[in-house]
């Protein structure tokens, strides 16, 4: 078979304030007709830049400096803008991460599909509407005629990604580039979207490039996989080969760092890394009769928003049912001393609302939150910040970048809880404590005076953890602490969290959607769905022998490598 796309010696440079940066360095990638190629790498590996270069949609600072990108006989690297415009969307299309942001927020989705059809003369104005509805139907959107008039904000994330796919495939292109198409979507939605992409591309005999940081996803859906690191291709082989016998050290490191069934926390680190403190989570969990945290019949209700009513009214149905929406519906569980409990579920299941109520950022509608014998639910959320118990509960947030004040140095960020809690702490005492904490989380002391944008993702995660530990808490709520990190960094951070827990004897409430990660870190796991607990029990029991159909569905949706 001939190659549909052939990239040779491609170099891409970016002009930055610090001078010229090479994002892609002499890479070769080829793609056959009908083939699915995975490009895998961590952030900064140049995988997205490569695809933007192929589409010629690099931003103004980026430039192809040398090399060729031949798409069925045309060199895209030197093609004119008019020629490229004709190819984009008609011959080669792209779908993106964060589908809601990828759609024009103030234009009906049907109209957006029409725009593409009319641009590429695939439809006249008269029949564009019918074609757009057909495109929506093709991506299995129910009631396409009705959805035609919807705006992106009225649709769920998975639904928006279907629309983006419909948009990309409306003109029947030959090549589809999918840039992290399911990152940020729930695992069951991810499976539905990936299956949809595979079905549609196979049906039309298209070639696909799947750009992802998730090795498991690439393994499950690609024929061949290219691994990139720092702008270079380090390895390219068939899916089977690359996972069966990875050749390059970086590929092996990536594979090790990916959480998977059967692996222990320690296994994620590179082979030559120093051994961590004696790791045996279960034995250190000091069993005690009274749990540290006991949640009893917790309920959080929200009044139905009139916003929903607006849509309902349009459809003509009656919005009069004023029954409040229950985000958390009668939840009870314990967190023992020194125990790590995982709280798992898909977006909207109430896991974040539950953790916010435990942190007393939200007032529960009903129920008790017993922390070390005291019912926290009795204190209003507004006053809890000044409660002495507040110091003993801390939180690590999902996005290490967004959760740091961009104008605070690492040191100031770590010192924040100390300065809040103490009356007039001595400056050198605070400094000493920050250095101690930095040592604890493995943050080099010379980084303490840097601002967040001068730190890497992993370093920012360490700052966030150090800040949470500053007041020696008994309970740390970890809200997806590694979701925004690369797998190799995630491996290090997870190991760090584990060893800190053993050393300091804290309890963790670990909120996550990633069952593999939960398996690694948690003693017990609680599965939530629509505000209710579906299943809870010891990690091995729940994940190996799930009792509920929903847990089984979640486990099955995790991409599996071909055997």
């Amino acid at each position: 078979m001939s190659d549909l796309l052939d990239i040779r010696d491609l170099c891409v440079e970016f002009e930055t304030r610090k001078g010229i940066v090479r994002a892609v360095e002499k890479i070769d990638i080829s793609l056959k007709k009908g083939e699915t190629l995975g490009i895998v790498g961590e952030s900064g590996s140049g995988k997205s830049v490569t695809s933007y270069a192929a589409m010629r949609i690099l931003d103004r600072a980026g430039r192809i400096t040398s090399g060729s990108i031949v798409y069925s006989g045309i060199d895209l690297a030197t093609a004119g803008e008019a020629e490229m415009r004709d190819l984009r969307g008609r011959e080669m299309s792209m779908i993106f991460q964060n589908p809601r942001a990828a759609l024009n927020p103030i234009r009906q989705i049907g109209r957006q599909i029409e725009d593409v059809l009319i641009q590429h003369v695939q439809a006249t104005r008269a029949e564009a509407r019918r074609r757009a509805i057909a495109a929506l139907e093709q991506v299995r959107i129910a009631n396409p005629e009705e959805r035609y008039n919807a705006y992106p904000f009225q649709l769920s994330g998975g639904m928006c990604q279907r629309v983006v796919i419909a948009l990309a495939l409306a003109c029947r292109p030959q090549l589809l580039i999918a840039d992290e198409p399911t990152t940020g979507l729930d695992v069951t939605t991810q499976k539905a979207i990936m299956d949809l992409i595979v079905d549609l591309t196979r049906e039309h005999g298209m070639s696909t490039i799947l750009i992802t940081h998730d090795l498991g996803l690439a393994a499950a859906y690609c024929d061949r996989v290219t691994v990139m690191e720092k702008g270079r291709v380090v390895e390219c082989a068939s899916s089977q080969d690359i996972f069966g016998s990875p050749q390059h050290a970086y590929t092996r490191k990536l594979m090790r760092a990916t959480p998977r069934p059967g692996a222990l926390l320690q296994d994620l680190l590179p082979e030559d890394s120093p051994p961590q403190s004696p790791a045996n989570a279960q034995s250190t969990a000091a069993r005690s009769d009274t749990p540290l945290l006991r949640i009893e019949g917790l309920i959080k209700e929200y009044p139905r928003m009139s916003a929903g009513g607006w849509l309902e009214k349009l459809r003509g149905s009656n919005p009069a049912d004023e029954k409040p929406f229950r985000a958390v519906d009668d939840v009870s569980f314990d967190v023992g001393r020194g125990e790590t409990v995982g709280l798992v579920g898909e977006s909207g299941c109430g896991k974040s609302t539950t953790s916010m109520m435990i942190m007393r950022l939200l007032d529960p509608t009903q129920g008790r939150i017993l922390f070390d014998g005291t019912d926290l639910a009795l204190f209003p959320a507004k006053e809890f910040a000044r409660n002495p118990l507040r110091r003993r509960i801390q939180m690590v947030f999902q996005d290490p970048t967004e959760s740091l004040n961009p104008r605070y140095t690492a040191m100031r960020a770590i010192a924040d809880p100390i300065l809040q809690a103490a009356d007039r702490p001595r400056r050198d005492a605070v400094r000493a404590r920050c250095e101690e904490l930095a040592g604890l989380v493995g943050l080099p002391l010379n980084l303490l005076d840097r601002l967040p944008h001068q730190l890497s993702g992993g370093q920012k995660a360490r700052v966030g953890i150090a800040r949470a530990l500053a007041l020696n808490p008994d309970l740390v709520v970890l809200d997806e602490p590694t979701a925004a990190l690369d797998v190799s960094v995630q491996a290090v951070v997870l190991n760090l969290l584990q060893s800190l827990k053993e050393r300091l004897g804290m309890s963790y409430l670990f909120v996550s959607h990633d069952l593999h990660v939960v398996r690694l870190l948690c003693d017990r796991v609680i599965v939530m769905r629509s505000g209710r607990i579906v299943e809870q029990g010891k990690c091995e029991d729940v994940l190996e022998r799930p009792a509920s159909a929903y847990t089984r569905e979640l486990i099955d949706a995790i991409p599996k490598r071909p055997v």
Partner: protein, 337 residues
């Protein structure tokens, strides 16, 4: 939609009541005694007292206030002492003059500033970006009376292209029969093309003066807002699907960038409507701004109160229409209403 407008107007009621009270009190607190002013410099204290009784200024404040409010309820804003005519009639005659001038100035400004801002955003750092910056900076830094006089000097005195800068229409033409109060539109309705020409040529210079002044905020906001939108992800999607640059820039980017632009235009409009006294003075334009200033200097309460109240109501109406425009531009705003 109608319910939304009704609700918005209801929430505006307290501010109107506040405006009525505050302007009433302020005009009473201001220095200067209208009775003494109108009795004339040679008047005896007895004459002044007589005028005061005639004006009702000797009665206690609450009583004066209630008779004022009672008048308002009947649509009576009082009578101007300087002109001797009802304030309502005066404002009704002058408001269209101000509105025509301001509106025309804003339309011209919008037609120049928005394309300039868009071009400056797409070609960031190019000559057009610098031109935009220079024009905007020069526009705001030159005071309007200076630009106005400069334009008069060049186009009337030196070259004689423009007619003499006095009033809304040349003395040889009679104003077209009033329908909207806007001479240009009334002339069109009456198909009086001579009057149309005369009205337009009188408008040209003051409108240009206003446009130069209001260019800056609109161009700057358009540029900044476009820059923000152009870097967003849906623009990348639009480009990746091969849409034409004009579609990407106008249909996708500009419509999304419109909200801050509309906000700015609304603010500039309500500001200029009452506050371009200087332009009105330079061009002898019979607008509300200069009318209010003259009344204030003469301690003529009724016109000042009427003016402030009219401006407050206009401000509320303009803001309401801007808010409704948001809903037209952005479907997400509609639900929150």
């Amino acid at each position: 939609m109608l319910r939304l407008i009704g609700r918005r107007l209801l929430t505006a009621l307290p501010s109107i009541v506040g405006v009525i009270i505050v302007t009433f009190l302020l005009t009473r607190v201001l220095p200067g005694d209208p009775a003494a002013y109108f009795a004339g410099p040679a008047a005896t204290p007895a004459a002044i007292a007589e005028v005061r009784t005639k004006l009702g200024l000797d009665r206690p404040l609450p009583e004066q206030f209630f008779s004022y409010v009672a008048g308002l309820a009947r649509g009576d804003l009082g009578t101007s002492l300087t002109t001797g005519r009802p304030v309502m009639t005066e404002l009704a005659a002058r408001l269209p003059a101000s509105a025509e001038l301001t509106l025309a100035g804003l339309i011209l400004s919008f037609m120049i500033a928005v394309p300039l801002g868009i071009l400056a955003a797409i070609r960031q750092g190019s000559w057009i970006d610098h031109l935009c910056r220079v024009l905007a900076t020069a526009g705001v830094s030159l005071p309007v009376f200076f630009t106005g006089l400069l334009l008069v000097y060049v186009f009337y005195y030196l070259t004689g292209i423009a007619p003499s800068p006095v009033g809304r229409i040349d003395v040889f033409y009679s104003p077209p029969p009033s329908v909207t109060g806007f001479y240009v539109i009334d002339a069109l309705i009456a198909r009086d093309f001579g009057a149309l020409r005369a009205a337009l040529s009188q408008l040209a210079l003051p409108v240009a003066t206003l446009a130069i002044f209001s260019l800056a905020p609109i161009a700057r906001i358009t540029r900044a807002s476009m820059l923000g939108v152009l870097s967003s992800e849906f623009i990348r999607t639009a480009r990746a699907s091969g849409l034409r640059p004009t579609t990407v820039v106008i249909t996708y980017a500009f419509r999304n960038a419109l909200i801050p632009v509309v906000t700015t235009i609304g603010m500039v409009f309500s500001f200029l409507l009452g506050a371009n006294v200087l332009v009105e003075k330079v061009f002898a334009w019979p607008g509300v701004g200069s009318f209010a200033i003259e009344a204030l200097i003469a301690s003529d309460f009724a016109p000042v109160q009427g003016f402030v109240l009219t401006m407050a109501i206009l401000y509320i109406l303009i803001n309401l229409s801007i808010d409704l425009l948001y809903g037209v531009i952005d479907p997400r705003v509609r639900i929150e209403g």
